[in-house]
Subunit: 308 residues, 2 copies
């Protein structure tokens, strides 16, 4: 049996790293030679969680076929969000909570996807099904992932299962969810020392909509002004990315994690689809989206629909 | 909430129909308005099981969007094996044991795939996870599906989980696995009253291998002579199908379910790939394959490999 690498998506968020650590740990306990790796360095939010629970950040890999052919994916399935040589690998398992697209295997595999708010919520089920106890630090990372993905249960993607899993994990991790959760989320909103290039790439995903390629980035903040004070600079860099990477449209969602609202910044064409999708009019390339915090539920489907 | 239709693949086998009945029953018990339907009429093997357990055959549908938009798939995922309007439907769930390919959704869904021998083995797990009891007749259909997919546990696709599930289901269904299983399998081997056109389409799937389209049909029998007595007729019809449907190569696997061996009949080109794949030489377009009973594990991968 060859070594198995377990990893989440590119531009890893706390779930991509937390679920990889947790699922790799489960596989190890079940006797497999598994290692959690990552397709990028942890964000400050994720690093806060790793430091809090005294864990090392997973090793960063850019390709894996020179190491092994066997991999397990967490928190993603679309090949363009995965490791560069994914199409040449043997995918043994996927644990995810997203739509399925641009994904294909040659062989039967283990695929566990549920429409819940966080991959780590599903991974907790897998521990229970295998009757394996979750170690304290691993529970802390899984809890952090749920808090991150659901914005402390405020996102519409959050389900009762996520809340129940978080409560159970908080017990094992021995933290107060509200106190720890807000501190962790705030650690991820320190934007001032980041270049605009970094900002628009912190948590960004590409989507094909109709015949357009749409880039949707999201940043969390406790003060929207901190983002929009640099609007001119952001617009320049987004336009440059559109040109260099052949994106047609670039959306930056700045999300106020305390107020649970977002403000959009849009560069590229067609903006009419954005206006139609959110029943709004862009002013100065911007639109305020009250109550919007979830890219997956409140932005991507609406925008996709406007292209159909 | 709109009605949910639950169905297996085209040319339904006993698992496609049995797993659909079982998964729809589970959904109903969980409060959903679900109905098992089928993309074709039951084979004689499946009809034997339905009659034995006093169940009606599921209603046959050719498209579903005029009835509902919500569907759940069992025992398949590839769109070309599914209902004609699958791309326009909202897929809520998939329970399957095949590779994933040509499958895509717009939204997160429930997807449960495990590399076991039969979908019904996974469906039994879902009953247990939901703490729902399996009704006797439903258990009978699930057992029939496992017997069918694993050829009474003789197929290399069979896993210990399939055997354990079958034993548990036989208890509920109150049948002797060996006695009932052989009778059911034999009911599916009544080939004498079928035209050769029907024979080569009973359980046939198309595959793209290299730049060739390969059709692989399989028939079960208790006497290989019953198939090869009609060899000349079969060859004529297979050649005709190749021409009309643009298949390059047509393989008919005649499987002796008592001896657990198969004999191949091959029409089209390149036959050299077939000979290479099975390390054999075709004589009179035929080759005996000792121990081969599984298209999925013992024919398709070997043949695919020979084209790479």
């Amino acid at each position: 049996m060859s070594k198995i690498l377990v990893f989440g998506h590119q531009n890893p968020d706390t779930d991509a790293i937390g679920a990889a650590i947790a699922y790799a740990n489960l596989q190890q306990t079940l006797g497999k030679e598994a290692e959690a790796v990552a397709l990028g360095t942890p964000s400050e939010e994720t690093q806060y969680a790793l430091d809090y629970f005294k864990l090392e950040a997973p090793r960063v890999v850019a390709s894996v076929k020179d190491e092994t052919s066997d991999v397990m994916l967490v928190d993603h399935n679309e090949f363009q969000q995965s490791v560069s040589d994914i199409a040449e690998l043997n995918i043994l398992a996927v644990v995810d909570h997203h739509r399925i697209a641009n994904f294909e295997t040659a062989n039967p595999l283990y695929y566990r996807c549920e429409p819940v708010g966080c991959t780590s919520t599903i991974v907790l089920k897998l521990y229970k099904e295998a009757s394996v106890e979750v170690p304290q630090a691993v529970a802390g990372m899984m809890l952090s992932a749920i808090i991150s993905d659901t914005l402390l249960f405020k996102s519409p993607t959050c389900t009762p299962e996520d809340v129940a899993a978080a409560n159970e994990l908080a017990e094992i991790a021995q933290v107060n969810i509200e106190v720890y959760g807000l501190a962790m989320l705030k650690a991820g909103t320190n934007l001032s020392d980041k270049s605009v290039e970094t900002l628009i790439d912190l948590d960004a995903k590409s989507f094909t909509m109709g015949d357009k390629v749409v880039r949707v980035a999201q940043v969390n903040t406790v003060d929207l002004n901190e983002v929009f004070d640099r609007q001119a600079e952001l617009e320049t860099v987004m336009a440059k990315e559109n040109q260099e990477k052949n994106y047609d449209l670039f959306l930056l969602i700045a999300t106020d994690i305390l107020a649970s609202d977002s403000e959009l910044l849009v560069i590229g064409e067609p903006v009419s689809n954005v206006e139609q999708a959110f029943a709004t009019t862009l002013t100065n390339n911007r639109a305020f989206l009250p109550g919007v915090v979830s890219r997956k539920k409140q932005v991507v489907p609406q925008l996709t629909e406007s292209f159909n």
